[in-house]
């Protein structure tokens, strides 16, 4: 019996050692390649939401990054080695993943994490350690303002929402609006704050502000009230799953005014769920897959070949992010964290699949969003 126990103890000790060393491996390779003059080799860390309820976002992001990585390495100017870590959508997991990347893997820069809540935790830590970090899907207010080393290339709500509201006002001559938003989600709440501010700035009369909760299935109370007030536009800060149901119930009730949505509402799923009721949804997006541009079409084709589905905005933003970083690495000429940060900050008029892209002084996005509308069951450019 004792022997058994000892065996067991030895086995556990050994196997845990093996496990630990398995995650410990791979040292930094942040040095210049000796023979290829000027060729920069760098480890880039990725923190992504790969497991859990939001895993679809993380999957799209990592797919986009991997595709970009292959192409960049093939070109041969820069050699990037992606180190991908999962955050499971949790702040503490994202933070430990970031610590691992920064301290154990000695990465040059980090792409991610996926959610703005995670970035709120990881951003300050990366900034303190002097590691450039770029969010590809963090759209909430105040993210790049965390510090000098924090960037993002995802179109913030503060740019997207006013753009779509502007176009809608122009077209429908709207004066009175009703706002509807989910108040228990960071994403929709922050979208609402932006919406309200934009509506006030443009001198729209806000008839009512209604709230709902995640997972709610009956919106008749809110919609009845909105209907009686006869708004010209409905601003809805919702994620697509709730948003689609809202549109469906609104159309059934006879509300036929257009909806303006935030970034989370922008998904082909809306059409799948709501069908014809989705017509008249206006969203601003950095990504439009049917754009008449060679780069965009090449990307869509390659992505579809490789992963068997069409890329969404998360994949596209991640794809561009790695290209922006590669450009910065090339300009820095060295995988030094500070040099890369400075080169990143200087990014200007970068031509990617999302269009022309620059960072402002905070590391936030400067670009022109495309405004789309759902018309006859398809996203088309809103004129």
């Amino acid at each position: 019996m004792r022997k058994h126990f000892r065996r067991f103890a030895q086995f556990t000790a050994l196997s845990s050692l093996v496990l630990l060393s398995a995650c410990g491996g791979a040292q930094s390779s942040g040095e210049k390649d000796a023979n290829g003059a000027g060729k920069v080799t760098a480890d880039i860390g990725v923190i992504s939401y790969i497991s859990g309820p939001g895993a679809a976002y993380g999957e799209a992001i990592t797919n986009g990054l991997k595709l970009a990585n292959e192409e960049i390495n093939k070109k041969g100017e820069v050699e990037i080695n992606l180190v991908i870590e999962d955050s499971a959508g949790k702040q503490d997991q994202a933070l430990t993943a970031a610590q691992k990347l920064m301290n154990s893997k000695n990465v040059t820069a980090i792409i991610g994490p996926t959610l703005s809540t995670e970035m709120n935790v990881v951003g300050p830590e990366a900034d303190l350690n002097g590691v450039p970090i770029m969010g590809t899907s963090t759209t909430a207010e105040g993210i790049p303002q965390i510090g000098e080393y924090v960037f993002r290339n995802s179109l913030p709500e503060a740019l997207a929402i006013p753009a779509s509201i502007d176009k809608a006002i122009e077209k429908y001559d709207a004066k009175k609006v009703a706002i509807l938003y989910g108040n228990d989600d960071v994403f929709t709440k922050s979208g609402f704050d932006t919406m309200k501010k934009a509506a006030e700035e443009k001198g729209l009369e806000i008839l009512t502000i209604e709230t709902f909760q995640k997972g709610q299935s009956d919106y008749n109370a809110q919609l009845t009230k909105i209907k009686s007030l006869k708004p010209d536009l409905i601003l809805a800060s919702a994620l697509y799953n709730e948003g689609a149901v809202i549109m469906d119930q609104a159309r059934k009730m006879g509300i036929d005014v257009p909806f303006v949505g935030g970034n989370g509402f922008n998904s082909p799923e809306v059409i799948k769920i709501a069908g014809d009721a989705a017509n008249g949804l206006i969203v601003a997006t950095p990504w439009y897959g049917d754009k008449d541009d060679q780069k965009v079409q090449d990307f869509v084709k390659k992505y579809e070949e490789k992963y068997g589905k069409k890329p969404d905005q998360f994949a596209a933003q991640a794809y561009d992010a790695l290209y922006i970083l590669a450009e910065a690495l090339k300009n820095a000429g060295d995988a030094d964290r500070d040099a890369v940060r400075d080169a990143l900050a200087e990014t200007k008029d970068f031509q990617g699949i999302l269009g022309s892209f620059s960072f402002d002084k905070d590391g936030d996005v400067v670009m022109e969003p495309t405004v789309l509308v759902i018309d006859e069951g398809k996203f088309t450019v809103f004129e």
Binding site: R2, F5, S16, L19, L20, A22, C23, I50, S51, G52, A55, I84, E85, D86, A88, Q91, D92, Q93, L95, T96, A97, Q99, K100, M102, N103, S104, T117, N120, V121, P124, L128, N129, A140, G142, N183, D184, D185, V186, K189, S190
Partner: protein, 325 residues
């Protein structure tokens, strides 16, 4: 020398383990009187928000914030405890779960104070504040060959380690005192305990409040280690997570939840190399555990058996071998 050994990644994971150990103990205390309470996540939220708001808005030192958070959670424990402890078993679980949800909804809707679901960011960080204090005293971590961030995480880790050892020591002692005996008696049979002259309401509220104090304390620490909190952190899934520490590790002895918290926090990190599959493996391990050892991994029998083993060994092979046992 020392600088090369200290990796903030491991220290960060260790800090989360220690906070989870405190949470594990907090549910163990209430379970030790036979009450199944799921309010611990709520109390954790009370502690975290109290401390965060005090340090953010009124510039209180972190120490005072954490103490205030702990006491506030304890106060909530008494207020919630007295009426709800008339309930037993699953009914108590339902009501305490309800408390957690109510609290979350309040945090989401009280926007002027809590910023709603966006959460509080920029909370003073425990380690960074310690570093600042040390620097003001004229101490530079460079003397020990440490970089600033290594020093920060080392300090947080050591502080938490001392706290956790203190807490475990306290509750081990309490278990052998009149209070611990009363808890055990109530757990085994409330009626019998009452007829023996134990004031069961008093002891039940005491256990409930101790649990609340500990969760509030852990919550306050969590806020100052992560520097960002939002209502979603203290929702239903957190309550279940805390419960799993006790269910997995065992709730009969204090080492059960301690081990549960340790194991279940380390596991996702160790399994990182299989990235997207790691939560499947994690789930599988828990499933197997439930089937094989429903009382939890560590129970009294196991501890006794281990004690017996080590004693025998010591006799047979002399003291030199005791280390390897």
């Amino acid at each position: 020398m020392l600088g090369e050994l200290i990796n903030p990644y491991y220290l960060q994971v260790a800090s989360f383990i220690l906070i989870n150990v405190i949470l594990g103990i907090s549910i163990y205390i209430t379970l030790s009187t036979g009450q199944l309470s799921l309010a611990n996540a709520g109390f954790m939220g009370v502690g975290a928000y109290t401390s965060a708001l005090l340090t953010l808005n009124f510039d209180f030192p972190i120490l005072i914030g954490i103490l205030a958070g702990t006491l506030m959670a304890g106060l909530f424990g008494i207020i919630i405890g007295i009426p709800t402890l008339r309930l037993q078993g699953v009914y108590l679980a339902i009501v305490t779960l309800g408390f957690g949800e109510v609290l979350r909804v309040i945090l989401v809707n009280w926007e002027s104070l809590t910023k709603g679901s966006i959460g509080l960011s920029g909370i003073p960080h425990l380690g960074r504040e310690i570093l600042r204090t040390f620097k003001e005293l004229g101490f530079n971590p460079g003397v020990m060959g440490l970089q600033n961030n290594q020093f920060i995480f080392l300090m947080v880790f050591l502080l938490l380690l001392f706290i956790v050892i203190g807490i475990i020591w306290f509750f081990k002692r309490q278990n052998r005192s009149r209070i611990g005996r009363a808890f055990a008696a109530i757990k085994l049979d409330e009626k019998a305990a009452e007829s023996m002259g134990i004031n069961i309401t008093y002891y039940k509220v005491l256990a409930f409040t101790q649990g609340a104090l500990l969760s509030g304390f852990a919550g306050a620490l969590y806020a100052h280690v992560l520097a960002y909190i939002s209502p979603a952190d203290f929702a239903y899934h957190r309550a279940v997570e805390i419960l799993i520490f006790a269910v997995f590790g065992g709730s009969e002895v204090i080492w059960g939840p301690v081990f549960g918290a340790l194991f279940l926090t380390v596991m996702p990190e160790v399994l990182r190399f299989i990235s997207e599959y790691r939560y499947m493996i994690y789930g599988l391990i828990i499933l197997v555990m439930m089937a094989v050892r429903p009382q939890g991994l560590i129970d009294v029998h196991l501890l006794n058996w281990m004690k017996l083993k080590t004693k025998k060994r010591g006799k047979e092979h002399g003291t030199a071998n005791q280390k390897s046992a």
